[in-house]
Amino acid sequence: MRMIGCVSPITSGHLRVLGMDPAVDGQRIRARLGVVPQADTLDTELSVGDNLMVYARYFDIPRREARRRIAELLDFVQLGDRYGEVVDSLSGGMKRRLVIARGLINNPEIILLDEPTTGLDPQARHLLWDRLYRLKQRGTTLVLTTHYMDEAEQLCDRLVVMDHARIVAAGTPASLIAEYSTREVVELRFADEQRDGLAPSSFAGLAARVEMLPDRVLLYTDRGEPTVEAVHRHGLSPASVLIRRSTLEDVFLRLTGRSLVE
């Protein structure tokens, strides 16, 4: 992210942003980018309005124009009534929205978002998603990193899955699910005494792929209902059954494994 943002020099390979070379045209590229870093990086002792006003000056935006844009952007991120408030007193979600407003002050063509909703409550996340979706509709390119697969599914047209700094898969959310998972997943839970006797072979032939977790068994299948019927016909009687659609989370876990990455 920092390399695309033209802050860090590239370590290897080839990078062009907006058709320019970051090593040569870093300043010109940055003038056309919006950045929402992972940390809020706000002036916590300044007011909401001053944070934006100070930032506008870095982009050489005339004062009057800056004032107009600030009012517009604060409305856009629903902070219109917070202009004079000191940043310190804002909630986490408000700070996040303020950082997004700040990232938009120069009308960027590309906006880089580094884990934009990490640590936010559900209401704040949904509000943020809504605003990001609107930006996308207006034609701004969003480049975002996230660990939340639902976020990727909501916002991304194209995504790449990275594992240990390597791209392991790329495509649209739907194509990734089609390629790396099945259409549906059946989640079975068993009573303790029954579970101990189970092995992957107990489910042989029932699903495209079987995954045994400590608390449940996942059967990857294209059609959930017939699979459940087959499970019962096999003489298995799970304590609970859930049929759900495959998600990007299934794809991600399949590709990067379930062990902790640290």
């Binding site: 300043q27 940055r30 940390a39 706000l42 300044l46 001053d50 870095y58």
Partner: protein, 258 residues
């Protein structure tokens, strides 16, 4: 080469941050010289006058005021180039935000230095006004001590900024204050001529810009003819500033461009 224009947003940024607390800062910058010049200049100065008559050929207050002007600039610079820098590096990470704009590391540095210069000039001006009220600094050359004190603060503060950029927290600042700033405040010739010190301490004192600033401010305040020595002091101060800039460029880049 130093470009001023892309650095101005940084200086303006600092100004907006400063504006919030400017009244208390200005109050402090007037009251502190008032207190020190009263207590030391008039109080201690009275005792000195009675027992010795004069210091370095002038009254103690006349001797003291220009020295304090220079050390006040140093202390202001030391304060501004430690905790606030750490805040922009780590606590608020403002530098990270600045670097996401067209600003470059060198612009951040130039902006900080421009702002520090403005601030030191204001502090020195206030101090000078107070000194005037006490009857010090009434020679024709005395107002020149204002830019010289500003330069003294820069010569000390910019290397401190380079040091701050190497720190992971504020624990080093206590040591800096205790082992550098306070000793220099006391021993750089502001309170008594450094010829009173043992020779090795004199040599040590001359290794810091503050001592040169104190000396030059005093010559200007007292209206003494400026010789080759004065030029030497000026060059030392400039050298500290220039080398400090280079060091800060290295440490800040190392810190911010990763």
């Amino acid at each position: 080469m130093i470009e001023l224009r892309p650095a101005l947003p940084v200086a303006a940024h600092n100004f907006v941050v400063f504006r919030r607390g400017w009244k208390s800062a200005a109050f402090l910058n007037v009251v502190q010289p008032l207190l020190v010049l009263s207590a030391m200049g008039i109080g201690v100065g009275g005792l000195v006058g009675r027992s010795r008559g004069s210091v370095d050929g002038v009254t103690y207050l006349q001797f003291l005021a220009p020295g304090l002007l220079a050390t006040t600039a140093m202390q202001t610079a030391a304060a501004d180039m430690t905790y606030p820098i750490m805040s922009r590096l780590i606590w608020n990470r403002t530098y990270e935000a600045m670097l996401n704009t067209p600003a470059r590391v060198r612009d951040l540095l130039t902006g900080e230095v421009v702002w520090l210069a403005a601030r030191l000039f204001a502090v020195s001006l206030l101090f000078y006004a107070v000194a005037l009220a006490f009857g010090a600094g009434r020679t024709a050359t005395a107002p020149l001590a204002i830019p010289v004190a500003t330069l003294t603060g820069l010569a000390f503060g910019v290397p401190v900024m380079a040091y701050s950029a190497t720190q992971r927290g504020d624990s080093g600042f206590n040591a800096l204050n205790r082992f550098v700033v306070i000793p220099l405040f006391l021993l750089s010739g502001s309170f008594f001529p450094i010829t009173q010190l043992p020779v090795f301490l004199q040599a040590l004192a001359w290794a810091f810009p503050t001592t040169h600033g104190v000396e030059l401010c005093r010559e200007l305040f007292l209206g003494r003819p400026l010789g080759i020595g004065a030029l030497g002091h000026l060059l030392v101060l400039l050298a500290f500033l220039v080398v400090g800039m280079q060091l800060a460029r290295v440490t800040m880049t190392r810190r911010l461009v990763v």
